[in-house]
């Protein structure tokens, strides 16, 4: 296991009726990307699915608002467009911040478990625990 691998990652924790996503990374952007990957992991097994189209959203507001907006975007894409992200990138762009999603059709992945409904603010945390170490925890209603 390399140091680079340990620097970023995600996990899904148990909650009686919901799921708690935990993500970490060396930068705020990496942590946000890992949170998206955690949510995708709870929705689908991607297998070998490649991306078919690209979608971009602008992120505004506080760290917490950006995290919630990003995860809500994944839920929205799933339900409104039958789309599942296979890759995501968060970066500063033109003075703001954007998230790029590379998407595939839901029919090309294996659905897992109950569909997420929304992102809760209860016990939501997102902060830089120490220089170069970001961590977030967020509850998703399923």
């Amino acid at each position: 296991m390399t140091a680079a691998f340990l620097e970023r990652g995600h996990a899904i924790r148990s909650h009686t009726a919901d799921e708690i996503l935990e993500a970490w990374g060396p930068t705020r952007e990496a942590c946000l990307e890992e949170a998206v990957l955690a949510l995708v992991d709870s929705i689908a097994s991607l297998g070998e699915a490649g991306w078919s189209w690209h979608h971009r959203v602008e992120l505004t507001g506080s760290d917490e608002e950006s995290l919630v907006a990003l995860l809500e975007e994944v839920i929205y894409l799933l339900e409104a467009d039958n789309a599942v992200p296979v890759r995501v990138r968060v970066r500063t762009h033109g003075g703001g911040e954007v998230a790029d999603f590379w998407l595939t059709d839901r029919s090309r992945v294996t659905s897992l478990g109950a569909a997420p409904k929304g992102v809760a603010y209860s016990q939501l945390t997102f902060r830089e625990e120490e220089p170069g170490r970001w961590r977030c925890m967020v509850t998703v209603d399923v």
């Binding site: 148990s14 919901d18 929705i43 109950a114 569909a115 809760a120 209860s122």
Partner: protein, 482 residues
């Protein structure tokens, strides 16, 4: 009297073997009241629902108590199984977190004109047909494909709209909460994203704990009330559990955000961010209630269209399509109701999150033919265990509320980890007389009976605590899972 430490600075005082009290502490404005036996009391080490009961007790305008029903479990903001009423004329608030994401999630029960012995042999084919024709699972797909104009009618008119188009019969409206249409819906408060999520899901079950179950009336506890509900022993019934799908989920997300921004203007602080709220009598409060009514109407259309799809399947397989609606009631809703508070009639906003309205006999809002027996309460068990039909009782504890089901006791991951696999679970249930049609065998163990509390104990506590009384026990014989 005994005391139990909740582990977070609160003490639970035993008022009776089925009623516990959290004394007001800190910023709690009212006590917490938990209806539970020792067996059902949440495990304070694994479950934070008692802390959530205390948090709800801090909401501006809350009156009486912050209640927890016997099936209470850990939610976010409110516990699942939480009831709270706020006094509208005393600055009482409405909180989207007191309803949850799945606005107007609820249950309806249909009674078929045939008994179990008339169905035997045809059940597997009926279940196959229901599995093939009931839209379910995550994402898009529904009985109806609608235009934006039709969606507006759904949001405004509720079940009245499909019934007027021939998708149902007048009796379907009489036996639906609010006669199928929650007044006060404001489609302008339903955002574009909510509309887009809802457009492709009109008439769909969804996923998770949502289901369509074919049941048999296994035992009657009150023959007179069962007769008023239209139930007799051995009768085949169908129970449908679903809500407002992505449209309701998005409305919750959108309006929580609006209220988070508005709270400083109203001078409100809350101990849990998901309890974001605004006075009922404020632009944000009125906006949410208008959107909530629209979502409730969507949910009723959803269950109405699944009713018609069920009738179609029964007609094809049994020759009978006359499935009559026993009742349709939500268990995730906030409603403006009038209740007696300290000897006066008060206008309250009653939040029920994972709790069922249970009006007692005599309630003016009940259909005339149910007024002497009380409101039907539909309390689903879990896949493979009994469900119950109950009735509201006087005087109407906890603002006339009761439990909404068995209540989860295990996370989905834990249920999967402990389980023996979906195929085994399906075969096991089949051997015990329940035909299961799962959307995904891999995910079936998430909803296994062992993931839920003991529904018999929940029902027993509901009766002992004076929340509702048993009318009939329903035995599952076929399940279509989302």
């Amino acid at each position: 009297m005994s005391l139990q430490d909740t582990g977070r600075g609160h003490h639970l005082v035993e008022d009776s073997p089925v009623r516990w009290r959290l004394e007001p502490r800190g910023s709690m404005r009212v006590p917490g009241v938990v209806f539970a036996s020792q067996q059902l009391l949440p495990d304070v080490h694994d479950d934070q629902s008692l802390e959530q009961v205390a948090n709800v007790a801090t909401l501006p305008g809350i009156t009486g108590a912050s209640y927890a029903m016997p099936d209470v479990h850990w939610g976010y903001g409110f516990p699942i199984g939480g009831v709270a009423a706020t006094d509208v004329d005393a600055g009482g608030v409405v909180s989207p977190g007191g309803v949850g994401f799945d606005i107007s999630c609820g249950v309806r029960l249909l009674a078929a004109p045939l008994d179990e012995d008339e169905l035997s042999g045809r059940l597997p084919a009926l279940m196959d047909l229901l599995a093939a024709t009931i839209p379910r699972g995550m994402g898009r797909g529904g009985v109806w494909r609608v235009t934006a104009v039709q969606l507006d009618r759904i949001l405004t008119e509720g079940a009245v709209y499909p019934v007027s188009e021939g998708y149902g019969e007048p009796g379907d409206l009489q036996r639906c909460e609010d006669a199928g249409q929650l007044l006060g819906a404001d489609p302008a408060q339903v955002g574009d994203r909510a509309r887009r999520r809802g457009l492709g899901q009109v008439g769909s079950l969804g996923s998770g704990n949502h289901f369509l179950e074919v049941q048999v009336v296994d035992e009657i506890f009150d023959a007179e009330t069962a007769a008023a509900f239209g139930l007799h022993p051995g009768q085949v019934c169908v129970m449908i559990h679903c809500g407002s799908r992505g449209l309701g989920h998005q409305i919750c997300s959108d309006h929580v955000r609006v209220m988070r921004e508005a709270m400083p203007r109203h001078g409100i602080t809350v101990p849990d961010a998901q309890l974001a709220c605004a006075p009922v009598d404020s632009p944000e409060g009125r906006g949410y209630l208008g959107a909530l009514a629209a979502a409730a109407n969507f949910a009723r259309v959803n269950r109405q269209l699944l009713t018609e799809a069920t009738r179609d399947a029964f007609e094809r397989e049994t020759g009978h399509r006359e499935l009559r609606l026993v009742y349709d009631v939500s268990h995730n809703l906030a409603k403006l109701e009038t209740h007696d508070v300290d000897g006066r009639r008060a206008r309250l906003c009653v939040h029920r999150k994972g709790a069922t309205r249970a009006f007692p006999p005599g309630a003016a809002d009940l259909p005339e033919d149910l007024r002497t027996v009380g409101q039907p309460v539909l309390l689903p068990g879990s896949m493979g265990t009994a469900s119950y039909v109950m009735a509201g009782v006087a005087p109407g504890e906890a603002f006339a509320s009761t439990a909404h089901g068995a209540g989860r006791k295990m996370s989905r991951h834990e249920a999967k980890r402990r389980g023996q696999g979906g195929a085994n679970l399906r075969d096991e249930l089949g051997a015990s007389g329940v035909e299961v049609r799962a959307g995904s065998l891999r995910d079936l163990p998430e909803e296994a009976p062992y993931a839920y509390k003991d529904v018999e104990e929940v029902v027993r506590v509901c009766e002992l605590a004076g929340l509702s009384r048993r009318v009939a026990r329903m035995r599952p014989i076929g399940v279509v899972k989302g």
